[in-house]
């Protein structure tokens, strides 16, 4: 035991200084141009390992009605203030049309009633937000794979990009997201138009939002206006494949 109390104080101070230095150092490193890039290795390894471990079509857990969250939390935009969107919303999206184009053989436009008349899937799944919370909801929609069959992607198409109606910044940058073809064709990836048996509320993304059940909430774009198939996403938005990705979040949001 240290006989000298000043020695103990010295130790404590050393410990405190070391942790403060670690923190200050890491703060500074976070702002360099190269450290965040190195740290990104973690995301790449996570993605690689998880894709090797989990079969491509492994299903996300589905729940029972008893597990439903009393109210499905709305996060991010609650109602896009874009005038065109508000006009469409005022008419219950009767004039809204989903445009599907890009690297496809047969670009097309689909109305909400056309989407509703296609094959549908209903699933009760858990929505995990990157912030840490989870909510459970019942979603009904058309599998994205059905829509893709309709437009026939070209072999060069590698990503599906969702262009949305909600502006995120003052400069008018709109929300967008992208997934690879594996997740796009996954059986639980649906373009949802119903939540808990009701027409999808505006707060949750009306008229159409995508469900990508094995990734975090920010991948599941709301207020979808257009679906574009691309070979790469460098030329879209900030070039990272999504609005939050452009703010430094991972493109692969499987964890």
């Amino acid at each position: 035991m240290p006989k000298n109390p000043s020695r103990r104080r010295f130790l404590l101070r050393t410990l405190f200084t070391a942790s403060a230095a670690l923190l200050a150092g890491c703060d500074r490193l976070s702002r360099t141009s190269w450290v965040p890039g190195i740290l990104r290795t973690g995301e790449r390894v996570n993605r690689g390992v998880q894709q090797v471990l989990t079969p491509r079509n492994a299903l996300a857990q589905e729940f029972s009605e008893a597990d439903l969250s009393p109210e499905f939390r709305s996060n991010g935009t609650a109602s896009p203030d874009d005038p065109e969107y508000q006009r469409l919303a005022a008419a219950d999206f009767a004039d809204w049309k989903l445009r599907i184009d890009g690297l496809v053989e047969a670009p097309t436009q689909l109305s909400l009633s056309q989407l509703r008349s296609m094959k549908s899937r209903t699933q009760i799944t858990r929505h995990d937000c990157v912030e840490g919370w989870s909510a459970i909801g019942k979603w009904t929609g058309v599998p994205l794979s059905e829509v893709l069959q309709l437009v026939r992607p070209l072999p060069t198409a590698r990503y599906v990009v969702f262009h949305c109606a909600d502006a995120m910044d003052d400069d008018g940058t709109r929300y967008y997201e992208s997934v690879d073809m594996d997740d796009a064709r996954h059986p639980q990836t649906i373009l949802a138009y119903e939540l808990n048996g009701q027409t999808l509320p505006i707060a949750n993304g009306a008229p159409l939002r995508v469900r990508i059940e094995r990734q975090l909430g920010y991948k599941m774009a709301k207020y979808i206006m257009r679906i574009e198939l691309v070979a790469q996403y460098k030329h879209i938005g900030g070039g990272n494949g999504g609005y939050w990705e452009d703010q430094g979040y991972e493109w692969y949001a499987g964890i």
């Binding site: 035991m1 240290p2 020695r7 103990r8 130790l11 410990l15 942790s19 403060a20 670690l22 923190l23 890491c26 703060d27 976070s30 965040p36 190195i38 740290l39 990104r40 290795t41 973690g42 995301e43 390894v45 996570n46 998880q50 471990l53 989990t54 492994a58 299903l59 996300a60 857990q61 589905e62 729940f63 597990d67 969250s69 009393p70 109210e71 499905f72 939390r73 858990r126 995990d128 937000c129 990157v130 912030e131 840490g132 919370w133 989870s134 909510a135 459970i136 059940e213 094995r214 990734q215 975090l216 939050w244 703010q247 430094g248 979040y249 991972e250 499987g254 964890i255």
Partner: protein
Amino acid sequence: MVVANHSTHPEPRRYRYVRHSVPIRVMHWINVLALAVLLMSGLQIFNAHPALYWGKSSYSGRPPVLEMRAQRGADGHPIGITEVLGHTFRTTGVFGLSTDAEGGLVQRGFPSWLTLPSNQWLAMARRWHFFFEWIFVLNGLAYVIYSLWSRHLLNDLVPSRSDWRSVGRSLLDHLLLRHPVGEQAKHYNVLQKITYLSVIGGLLPFIMLMGLGLSPRADALWPGWVDVFGGRQSVRTLHFGAALLVVLFVAIHVFEVVITGVWNNLRSMLTGRYEIINAKEP
């Protein structure tokens, strides 16, 4: 009682021997760095939604198990509140409401001097967490493989039969802050062995498993496996709780290091050399 040493080569009164091999020392300090970064970035990630729940979702109608928030006090000034299992505590300045790096009062779970980055920045915290998660996992794997191969595990960590008989005495020794000296100090005591083994073989793998359980993709590996632990939000709570246990372990570990001879212990983990001081011959 004095026991005469009848061996032909009596141990010298005071000498140094190599206690920790180079790989163990290197892996120990990598682990210190990784755990520090994981803890602090983890607290920043927690701050993005400073509440913990029990169950499959956060919105089940039941209140959170733990919540940190800021609200207006009776006098109109903001106060920090921490609610644990329905009990409310005023934690202004530390939890719920604290000063940030720029000196302003902000609503946040853990204070800026405990989180990495210090200011609210979830995306960057996730990068640090996921990078050092792999450093920690690879370092841990290397440690396990090395310890099996070098017999460090069997020789130094697995309690012997006589160890098991001395559990009661060792417990009393720890409580009275009595520690083995001389040749006896060359071996870990039984409580130390049990603690190291449960942290290495139990707590750390558990915290990793709970971290994996937070991944929606890993949940698809065997849909529903997280329900074994109460559901995804329970898993998040357990990941957090296990991190607190690691902090508790480190606190006790550092305490024991300090009271059993801080320089001797530090030297042995830096240069490998540990000093043994035997009692004077009669």
